[in-house]
Amino acid sequence: MSIKKYKQRNKETKKQRNKEIKKQRKEFESHGEKETRQYAAGFVKKLNGGEILILEGELGSGKSTFVRGLGKALGIKKTMRSPTFTLMNVYKISGKSKIKNFIHVDAYRLCSVQDLRNIGLFEYIGNKDTVIAIEWGEKLKSLFKKLDLILIKFKHGESESCRLIIN
């Protein structure tokens, strides 16, 4: 086989594989805050503890609403305010759930992994009883290579109340 042909074939299998990955990805269309929260509640059932969720999406695309839904389904009763100013909010979860801590991070202003260390996030990474949700985390993605991350994308839908959540 010539190199040209090999490259061609390689390209095609890659395309095929990407298509399959895309198929496996689940896309959810939410028609309002309530549906986003319900979707988040369903998502919580899949969590075992120790996960890091990277939430990617524009301003107003539903990231915070999703995180509030997660928190509520995990049993947090406190008001979950925006972490934009504080950078990181830590919630303790009492009750039977094996997940004891929920961490809500806003990485919009952060530049490096060092920043995450400075705000104290490293104390929680790798803990089996902790779930971490990082908004605007896409820019830190490459730096997290060694860790297992769950990427969730948020997009604006066609109408004003519509949002796409791609998991």
Partner: protein, 334 residues
């Protein structure tokens, strides 16, 4: 009594010397080294950068604030809430000075500072008092029955009012920080041009929500037909009006319920002229037995004079803490 205030909770390194004699406050010095120019590039405070800037600025700032005084009677220091790396620099510097000078320390909550900023005009607070604290990180209604006694009766459920200003400024491609930029454009706009929502204005409690308002502005901008003329001033004015309407309505409602005698405004957003005008007008017209207390503009943003002022009240109550015991608390609440 002379109190040295030190503040480094976010992006301003500040020190001030406040004198309290015969029941009157006088600010002997008020020095602020701002990092806004540095953080404009990143459109927000980067913690590591902020901490390094604090380290560089804090000694010269304190030196300038101390003028020719040898030592103060006490040091009032912001111990929270804020960025832990920034707070630490202020607290550790204050701790060193406390040890060196042999003067006691007073741990101050940053929000207390904003509440007491208007006391510097030497107008007494009559109790009960209600304080609206609005800044980039906070939107809180605080009830005070006496000095240094705080009860939060309402707060934001998602974004702070100042945060909404920053985010809307981002949507409209304006600079950072968003508040002053939006207010500047709003002056040329019509506040009634666009009917943005007034989130939770009719709810029975005193909580706020500004996240949905930001999204409403986002969709309004997205749905604009190819622009034939510049709508930004109208958007800014209408958005600002929506925020002010909710803040004023809730404050007045709470003031009536708790029959307060003083309505205090504090925090970075208290520099907003529309908010100042409408709140004082509403207090005058709707609460004839109360008066409003607004901080002068130079004390609306983060400064150490307000921290020293709180320090005076703590010193009167002998709420001192030793340099061995003081610690930062990034999540400190009132």
């Amino acid at each position: 009594m002379k109190i040295l205030g030190i503040e480094s909770s976010c992006d301003e390194t500040a020190a001030a010397l406040v004198d309290y004699t015969g029941g009157r406050f006088s600010v002997l010095s008020n020095v602020v080294a701002s990092q806004i120019e540095i953080h404009k590039k990143t459109k927000g405070v980067v913690p590591e950068v902020a901490a390094r800037c604090h380290v560089e600025a804090i000694i010269p700032v304190i030196k300038e604030a101390m003028q020719n005084e040898t030592k103060p009677d006490a040091i009032a220091i912001t111990k929270g809430p804020g960025l832990v790396t920034s707070l630490r620099i202020g607290v550790d510097t204050a701790r060193t000075l406390s040890f060196f000078w042999g003067v006691p320390m007073i741990g101050v909550n940053h929000l207390e500072g904003h509440i007491y900023a208007s006391v510097l005009q030497n107008t007494a607070i009559e109790f009960p008092a209600l304080c609206l604290v609005v800044s980039g990180g906070h939107t809180e209604l605080v009830l005070m029955k006496k000095h240094l006694d705080y009860k939060i009766i309402g707060e934001t459920r998602d974004d702070a009012a100042g945060e909404a200003f920053d985010k809307v400024a981002k949507i409209l491609d304006l600079g950072y920080p968003g508040g002053p930029e939006i207010s500047k454009l709003a002056k040329e706009g019509n506040p009634k041009a666009i009917d943005f929502p007034r989130p939770m204005i009719d709810s029975k409690d005193f909580d706020f929500s500004f996240s949905g308002l930001k999204t409403a502005v986002l969709y309004y901008v997205k749905n604009l037909k190819p622009k034939t003329y510049n709508l930004k001033p109208d958007i800014c004015a209408s958005f600002e009006q929506a925020v002010v309407d909710v803040l004023v309505a809730k404050t007045i409602c709470a003031a009536k319920k708790y029959k307060v005698k003083t309505v205090i405004l504090g925090g970075g957003v208290s520099a907003n002229q529309r908010l100042r005008d409408e709140l004082s007008k509403a207090v005058k017209n709707l609460l004839p037995t109360s008066h409003s207390l607004l901080p002068s503009l130079k004390y609306t943003t983060d400064n150490a004079a307000m921290i020293a002022t709180v320090g005076v009240f703590h010193a009167i109550n002998k709420n001192f803490i030793s340099w061995e015991k003081i610690d930062v608390d990034p999540n400190l609440s009132l």
